[in-house]
């Protein structure tokens, strides 16, 4: 890329399309976390259901597909609650959705994801302590709290 003064610099970044992530809550206000091994961090990290938007999909369709594939839960309604950009070296925007979910009859166990349930307040305390730190999980949990979506 070039600057106004004529200098140029190399700007290395990841090319990618859009991504979605879902703040999924059961009827008793438990948030569904997923656990996945993150090779760059060399450890298992808590995050939330989500993934890349596939060709021809709307973001909400991708969110429903990822929710069902990764957790075995489904929903009738996905509410867009915000978006974020991972950082300077990424063009990916992550759209965040909120959903009340229930177990789905069939579940493809081929997706290597473990699921855990947690109260929102306990989760935000863990975020505050640095124990949970995935960006999508963190932003989704804090937005659900700020928007008071569980009180509705």
């Amino acid at each position: 890329m070039g600057f106004a003064d004529g200098t140029t610099c190399e700007y290395v970044y990841f090319k990618s399309g859009g991504t979605v992530a879902i703040a999924a809550f059961t009827d008793d206000n438990k948030m569904i976390l997923t656990k996945q091994y993150r090779h760059p961090l060399q450890k298992v990290v808590y995050d939330i259901p989500g993934g890349a938007i596939e060709a021809g999909e709307m973001p909400s369709q991708a969110a429903l597909r990822e929710l069902e594939e990764e957790t075995g839960y489904t929903t009738e309604k996905l509410e867009w609650i915000g978006k974020f950009s991972r950082g300077p070296s990424s063009q990916a925007i992550v759209d965040l959705f909120f959903a009340r979910v229930r177990r789905k009859g069939s579940f493809n166990k081929n997706e290597m994801v473990q699921v855990e349930m947690i109260d929102l307040d306990s989760l935000i305390q863990r975020i505050s302590d640095g124990e949970c730190f995935d960006a999508a999980l963190t932003i989704a949990a804090l937005l659900v709290s700020w928007k008071k979506l569980l009180d509705k």
Copy 2:
């Protein structure tokens, strides 16, 4: 990387050290935003002061240096308020700090950063509407709100 069943896959990610970002507030509760051109997104994006930890630096030292370099403000005290990971394709952890700041006498104008001031509530409304979406800015603002740091 290899899996228990003997299969392997390629895992592409950015190698990097730690990064810091600062939720900096003036005495009248204005948060300092920085504006930077993000080539991957092809536009100017609001974020907060921050950057990479240099060799030999503590995270808090890096935070103070970046704050001073990018904004011309300084502080006596940096409070660690949390951390986050940008996502699956990054090993970078971003440590977040809160600081009450004041203008510094000297200011190196060579850093190409524009600064804007905003109320926390206005900023979170803009985050909620998707107008501000940088991950560090978003998490820092929501954590300051959740921890009620401006009430202290």
